[in-house]
């Protein structure tokens, strides 16, 4: 009985906590609307929330059409990153020379701005989907592969001793210990990778494209159509949330044993 009461109290305090940011967001939107109205700010500088909302409703099918292009590029880049990350991480963990050769490169590449390579892809592969998929792959690949390597490699020594003392084969240790251990890490990498692959697709579209939300940003920018720009940004925000939530949802089902035990969600830093 007490436990149930505590649970209910927890739930109430949690929903109470959610009130603060919601109230703040609502307050900000009201201030925004109010100041646009009071100071009669022109739309090309800062459109009010009502006008942005109307734009989204009016141009919904147009926005969705471009959104689907970006989603496609993001999804394919992300999927490619996963497909490449798995065999590479296994190879790195399995063979020491591969680790010694590849890891320094991967660590090195972390400190350079990878989006700068995107223009090269545009020169090589034109204005179609492929260069954006490549950029999106390039950005998503590293967090996924490095988290996977960490998860497969960093096992508690006691667990390894245990498996040895029970004369487990290498393969058994791999499937029964290393792979389960790697999953929480992998999902951290996937969450960040999903967000970065969206960034990659958008920046790729910035540089040269005819479709997609990134293209629309530049299109609206060139025409000083700030209302469209804001509508586009709202859609990008939603797309980011969607992509992130999908990975989070899969995580909750795939490794519920870990998600439940986890004390705090890791905060992802994206660009």
């Amino acid at each position: 009985m007490k436990a149930i009461k505590k649970k209910i109290a927890d739930k109430i305090s949690k929903s109470k906590d959610a009130l603060y940011p919601l109230a703040a967001a609502l307050g900000l939107i009201l201030v925004w609307q109010g100041s646009v109205y009071v100071f009669s700010i022109p739309d090309y500088l800062l459109p009010g929330p009502d006008i942005v909302l109307r734009e989204i409703v009016l141009k919904w099918s147009f926005l969705v059409e471009h959104g689907l292009v970006t989603l496609y590029e993001t999804g394919v880049g992300f999927a490619l990153a996963i497909i490449f990350a798995i065999p590479i991480s296994v190879a790195v963990v399995w063979w020491k020379p591969v680790e010694k050769t590849l890891m320094p490169f991967m660590v090195f590449l972390q400190t350079i701005p990878k989006v700068a390579v995107a223009p090269l892809f545009i020169i090589w592969f034109g204005f179609g989907y492929f260069p954006k998929i490549l950029t999106s792959f390039l950005l998503a690949y590293f967090p996924i592969v490095i988290e996977l390597i960490t998860g497969l490699r960093d096992i508690e020594p006691e667990v390894l001793d245990l498996s040895k003392s029970m004369s487990a084969s290498e393969l058994q240790t791999f499937t029964k210990i290393r792979i389960p251990n790697s999953l929480p890490y992998m999902f951290n990498g996937l969450k960040l990778g999903a967000l970065l692959s969206l960034v990659g697709a958008v920046v790729g579209e910035f540089l040269g494209s005819l479709k997609g939300l990134g293209y629309l940003v530049i299109y609206a920018n060139d025409r000083l159509d700030t209302t469209l720009l804001f509508a586009d940004l709202v859609l990008l925000l939603l797309l980011g949330k969607l992509v992130f939530s999908i990975v989070e949802w899969v995580e909750r089902y795939a490794i519920s044993w870990h998600v439940v035990m986890r004390e705090k969600d890791k905060i992802m830093f994206t660009t």
Binding site: A116, T270, T271
Partner: protein, 269 residues
Amino acid sequence: MAGNRGTRWEARIKDSLYPIATTFAILILWQLSIVLFSVPDFILPGPLVIIKAFFGHLRLLSGHTLVTVYETIAGLLLAVVFSIFVSIIIVWSKGVEKTVVPLMVFFQTTPKIAIAPLFIVWFGFGYTPKVIISFWLAYFPIVIAMITGLRDIQPEMVDLTKSMSATTWQTFVKVRIPNSLPHFFSGLKLGGLVAMLGSITGEFVGSDAGLGYLITMANHNNDVKLLFSVLIVLVLLGRIIYASTVLIEKHAISWHVALRTEEEKFFTA
């Protein structure tokens, strides 16, 4: 002890042979295939041609590099100053924390860089919008690291200061601030990298100077040699910015760096 250190260095040098040998092999293979298949320069120039172009464009490159460096550092400094203020306010007041932190976490799952063109509309083609974009990207990792560092103190430490009847102010200065420094520096390292990314992307979107501008120019002119030269500068610049934050960290909090066991991982775009 000395012998130990010697063998450790030897092992390090031996380990670094693998990537160096691979790099050389890739460069030689690259150069050979360019010569063998006579790949034209506007598709893929060989390493030798790129190095020649790099030194030929040295004056052009250094001028644009200074612009990007300025935007990056200005944005990063702004982010640091703002983060310190905001994080102290947040740690001081529970109400502010409950209001602001969820909003900041919310923004973490959105592609922040997409806002860059908006800053161009508002602030024109000069340095200001790029500085703001650098600030915007660098701010989040630094402020969240600061908040974590100021807030998450070991409970034993809090008990200790209480039992010694330290004031809240004393606890803040003697316990919370030192505790926050390692977090701050790891935020700063990531912040430096994303600040540079921000200024480059800002230059992509609209500018007349800087390395990002040079990239778009080279892109429009199909000047792949220049493009690769800029990439070399970007690699060097990324390394320099990262290495300088590491160096500052090493001097500022040597007590922590020497003891740190966990490897830090940064993922940038």
